[in-house]
Each structure stands twice: as C-alpha cells, then as structure tokens.
Symmetry: C2
C-alpha cells in the first residue's frame, strides 16, 4: 500500500505554516489580518504561472516556488513598493508528490524571507490539469507615491537596472542545451544564463530611487522592446534606444559575439525581471546614484520621443523596430 497522502491541514502545518507572517494568524483562521502602515497606500498585484506554459514541469520544485513569488515581488519593486506579504493559490495536479511540495515550499519560503514578503493566506485545490500557482502580492508605498506605468514624458531618459536578455538566452539553453552558439561558453556563463531564467531577482532595492526620481516604471517581464512599447504607446509616445547602451552580462556578450542575430532574442525575450524606468534627464545621475547606493547597477539606454511608431533600437548598421515585440503566454 502506498503511504497515505497528507491531508490539506497537514500540508499546511508541515510546509506552509513556516512561511507565514503575523498577518496569517497561524493559517488557522478563514482570513489573514494585516494592519497597514499609517500614511501608506497598498500596492496589489496578482500573477499566475502554469506548468508547461510558464515553466517546465521538471524545473526544480524550489525554483518553481521561488519564481512564483519573485515575479510578483518584481512588480511591487517597479512600482516603488516594499513587500508586505502574499497569498497563494496552489492548484495541484493529480500526480503531485510530497517530495515536490517539500522542495516547492522550501524555495517559496526562502524567497519569502529574502524578499521580506511572508505568507498571509492561501488555498489548496486539485487543478484537474497541470500545476498552477497564483500569487497575490501586497506592498506598501508612502501615500500617493506609487510609481505609475503610464506617466513618461517626452525627453525622459529610458533607464534599466541590471542586465537584459540573460533569461531569454537561458531559456533557449534550458530548451536545447546543444545550441551551436553555446559551444564556446564557459560552464560559469552557461550556469549564469540558466540561473537568470530560473531564479529571477526582483530589484526590490530599486524602490526608493524609483519613487524619488522616476516619472514612470514597470518591470521587464515580457521583453524589453515590448514592455517599452507598453509603457509609451498608450501615451502617444515612442523611444529611441541605443542598442549598444543596453547593459549585457559577460555571458550575453559572449553569446552575441558567437551569434550576432541573437540580439533580437535579447531585446524581445522575456523573464528579465529588471526595472524599466523613464527618468527626467536632469535626474538621471541622481537616479543611477540612488541605484548604486542600493547596490544595483543601472544604465540610461535611450530617450522618450513623441510618435506612435514602436520604439526603435539603433543597432550597428541601422534601426530595428519590433512589431511583435513581446511574448504573450495567453
């Protein structure tokens, strides 16, 4: 006889209670209870991920748990918010195992601790299909200070944190390790790219500089080119970006040297989880200095301009526009 599966209450006590913050009330009530900080607004975001669509069912369970929270924390960071907690819906496939859950909860718990974002509540159901995770994350900003997506102005400089394109290349490697262009990559660089895909690092420490200096911001989750268009197009704005100024990791630079055509994957691939911001020209040095003081790198890569064309990327020998500039999972 196979070992008895734990009940929902046992799962909660064993794997999820350790992730819970004070607002979760020990996960023994029907709701969590949060005392918001006076003088602050709550920032709320929800993102769901589905096995086989947003991640590989055989990704390490701890990575799946970490990423489910990271993608939401990344939204909070880009809005200038500090995380306060999250709620989880865990829809399990019929063949779930306790070993999966253990790893998943470990990764999720490590992320909750790293991001200062404890569990407030949750629901566990049978999915009747693939593993599906939905996370609602809450953060706080001083009242009226959430950094908006649709508020850039012509002349603002386009800035990004970190490096762009690593996760897109990591995903290509995750799909097919034998990529011709990867033959010359050191093991360290391969690992770097795949790690950037599996383990997004939300730029929580950028929140202060964003609140202080950015006109507008969002996280880069669906590809730089597409997300830039999302930030500007509804305002009748566009951008001119110097592709050479887009910050790349040493690993991405090696890849580009071997296969220059991958610049498209770098500029349009998803899963960067960096922050994209529009910053008034005069404030750029202060913004980049604020990021640096928070231990983050940042770069100005272009300028907001009037126009309804998709943002253009100046690359060696010409101009690129991406009409289908981002990936839609839907």
């Amino acid at each position: 006889m196979p070992p008895r599966r734990p009940t929902e209450d046992e799962l909660i006590a064993r794997y999820f209670a350790p992730l819970a913050g004070a607002a979760a009330l020990g996960l023994t009530d029907d709701a969590g209870c949060l005392s918001p900080s006076p003088g602050h607004d709550l920032v709320l975001t929800v993102d769901a991920v589905v096995a086989g669509i947003h991640f590989f069912p055989d990704d390490p369970p701890a990575s799946i748990g970490r990423k489910a929270l990271a993608v939401n924390a990344s939204d909070l960071a880009a809005k200038g918010a500090v995380p306060v907690g999250f709620l989880l819906t865990l829809a399990l496939p019929d063949d779930w195992t306790e070993s999966f859950l253990k790893g998943f909860a470990q990764g999720l718990g490590d992320a909750a601790r790293d991001f200062g974002c404890p569990l407030i509540g949750g629901d566990t159901v049978r999915s009747g299909g693939p593993l599906t995770l939905s996370v609602t994350a809450l953060g706080e900003v001083p009242a009226g200070r959430m950094v908006r997506r649709l508020a850039a102005k012509p002349g603002d400089r386009i800035c990004v944190t970190g490096t762009i394109g690593d996760a897109a290349l990591g995903l290509l490697l995750r799909r097919r390790p034998g990529q011709r262009w990867a033959a010359g990559l050191t093991l360290d660089r391969r690992v770097h790219l795949i790690d950037r895909y599996l383990h997004p690092n939300p730029r929580l420490r950028a929140a202060g500089a964003l609140r202080d200096y950015a006109s507008a911001a969002m996280d880069v989750s669906d590809g730089l080119a597409g997300d830039l268009a999302k930030m500007l197009r509804p305002l009748g704005l566009s951008a001119r970006v110097e592709a050479a100024d887009v910050p790349l990791s040493p690993a991405a630079r090696s890849v580009l040297a071997a296969e220059p055509g991958l610049i498209d994957a770098i500029l349009t691939g998803g899963d960067d989880y960096e922050v994209l911001a529009a910053v008034p020209d005069a404030a750029v040095p202060l913004f980049l200095d604020g990021l640096a003081q928070a231990g983050l790198s940042g770069a100005a890569i272009g300028t907001v301009i009037e126009g309804t064309e998709p943002p253009c990327f100046l690359v060696e020998g010409g101009v690129r526009r991406f009409e289908r500039a981002s990936y839609s999972h839907f």
Copy 2:
C-alpha cells in the same frame, strides 16, 4: 475562417474594465493601488474554484462568476469585515468562448456591485486544463476587531444566520433532477434549492452584529457539522446542537418530510454560505436583534461545551455525531 479571438488586452477592456474600482487604476498599470481607511485592519482571503470539482462546467457562466466572488465575500462577512475589492486569476481552458466570458463577467460584475467589492487587478492565463478561478478578496474592519475563528468559550451559544442545508439539497437536485424525494416539491421550492446552490448570498450585513457580539465566527461552506467542529475542536471544545432548532427553509422542510434521512445531508452538506457564530449567552438577544435590524434572520441552535468529541446533534430519538462531517474537495 473562425472569427479572431480577442487578445488579452481586448478582453480586459471589454469585459473586466467595467468591473474595476478606483484602486484598479483602469487596469492599465502593473498593480492596483488602494488607500486603506485610517484606523482599520485589512482582512484578506483567497479561494479558488475549479470546473468539474467545485462547480459544473455547464453551470450558467454568470452563476460561475457570481459564486467565485460570493464565496470570498462570505469569508469577509463572517470575519466582521466590509469588502473593499478583489483580485482575480482567470485560468481559461483551451476551448473558452467569448460568449462564456461575456456571461461570466456579467455575473461577476453584478456580484461586485451587489457586494460593494470592485475589481482591483487580475491575471489571465491559459489553464492547460479546466477553467480555474482564484479570487483574493480584501475587506476592512476597525483595527483589532476582526472576528476570529478560534475564540469560542464554553457556555457560548451557537448561532447561525439564514437557513441550513438548502444548497446541499440543491446540489443533489442539480446532479439528478429525478430524485424520488423531490417528486412532491413545487417548482418554486425546487428553484429555491438549486438557486441556493448556484447563487450563494454572502451575509455581508451580518458584519456589524458579529463584530459587536460574537466571540468567534466563520462561514458555513463545508457543512454545518464539520465547520462547527473546525471552530471548536482545536480549542478542546465541542457543542450540543438541537437539530430541531437548526433553521430550515420551507423547501428543506418539505424534503425532510418526504425523506427524513436527508437530515444528514442538511447538517453535513456544503455551500450554505451562512454565518456560524459563537455568542455569549447574555448577548444572544442583542446579536439576533442586530441581525434582524440588518434584515437577516438568525437562530440560536446549541451550546459550546467542554470536550473533545465531535459536536453532537440531538435528533428525534437520539444523538448524532458526524465523524466525517464535512466535504473536502482536496
């Protein structure tokens, strides 16, 4: 060629933007932004429902939408909270139709209006399986006043709102309309029972009386007997309930007259979405009066006692205890 399916942005603009409150920022940003009322705590709950598990895939789309929000609003009500908004994850099966979405959004929107609980944000994904809905609902209570689940005291009276068991009978009828015991039911009473299953009516107006008078409360979602045990057992408490005092609708009374054995379904069936409360004996008249002033019926049905046995129900000719007292979807 079949008509083009709308994009996610088009779906949001067409069907979900009309449901959005101010905190949703027009659903055009990466997060919602809520200004909590000073001096209040936030109450947060999440519940997911899956087609084929928690509802019938061929339930009316508007009913599915309404119920997804109602089951969460019911949790808020039982905690003494007033709804402020919700976030939705909509995981669509591959064969979703626009006509389904239209009906779903209509039912969800009517519920959001009825419950004073507008949309704050959402995410739409492909489910890779059945339709799955996850709702995170937020409410407010004056600071420190959330009504807890695990706070009943020996001697407290057990009270419930409304009537118990209708939805369980409605579910039996929904599954098999030709139930022998239903032969003598008028059409009105059949409709009443099925309606109670399809369209839970969260007891939002009970929130004030609960905050003012209840020691403890929760909503009855998994069956009266089981939920009563959940409220008391972790405290080393039990209850003695007079089955004859459990309020039944005229429809449920007719059913019981035809088939007395259905008392078990009434006491252990789920989906009532009434409120179960423990109220100090001296406060019961005030509590019931508070409910009445809010337009709700209520009844005292038993007493909290010391003991680790499951709550007992005194029925004609004896005592019933339900060891497996509630339904687990998990």
